[in-house]
Symmetry: C2
Subunit: 145 residues, 2 copies
């Protein structure tokens, strides 16, 4: 039995999203996994840093590359609680990450709607813990109203 | 007579690209201007930092926001020597920058080819000092061969 399922890792990304939620950030979390080892764990920090580029995925790409001391993430999987935006899809494209797994889809601002693309070699799995990831987002925007 | 023309500012972005060239980085430079004042000046650092997100524009968006202590660049113009990629177009989208001016077009990796979009409120001017910006890129790739 393999404990290292997509659900296992997505739950850790979701706990990062929860940390963002508690900081009153849009609750998105991302982790990078290499050989079942988590090498980056990040959450959205755009409000606290006053920086629109501080999305969870963008930080995760930088942080994982820093850990590996290498530009490319060819043997890594990025787990993120929400479908990446075009900026993050672009960063993932350049990183040549092996696989991207996301939770909830983002029909308004996801890269599939806004345009942009992942690297042709990157495999994609969508919808892991989608309900829980989406519920956390809904709960954030309901609180904001 | 206004000395603060698009050519004036693009020449400064080009001098940043030249610095990247000298560091053996793909020679792209970007600056952010607010009320004719340069508030960010950056060049591509992807090789030195081993970080695919270290494009000139992405650094410039972060750096300008940091200078302004504000998330949005609504009254700013970004000048960049090369048409932005989808990642940088995405960052510029989120920044709601007032205007983007680029030099050379990037038919392979520019966001107009790869997909993605700027903010609907962002004005665009393309082709400022395009020949000089393109010549520096060509010279870089010829040296690499």
């Amino acid at each position: 039995m393999d404990i290292f399922t997509d659900e296992y890792f997505m739950r850790i990304a979701l706990s990062e999203a929860q940390i963002a939620f508690e900081k009153e950030e849009i609750p998105v979390g991302a982790i990078v996994v290499s050989d079942n080892k988590i090498i980056a764990k990040c959450h959205n920090l755009t409000e606290l840093l006053h920086d629109v580029t501080a999305h969870a995925e963008l930080q995760a790409v930088s942080s994982a590359a820093n850990y590996l001391d290498a530009k490319y993430l060819k043997s890594c999987t990025l787990f993120v609680t929400l479908e990446p935006c075009q900026m993050c899809a672009g960063a993932l494209y350049w990183s040549q990450v092996s696989r991207v797994v996301w939770g909830a889809s983002d029909e308004k601002r996801g890269f599939q709607t806004m345009g942009g693309q992942l690297h042709p070699k990157t495999k994609v799995t969508a919808g892991i813990l989608a309900d829980e990831c989406a519920a956390l987002m809904r709960s954030f925007f309901e609180k904001k109203r």
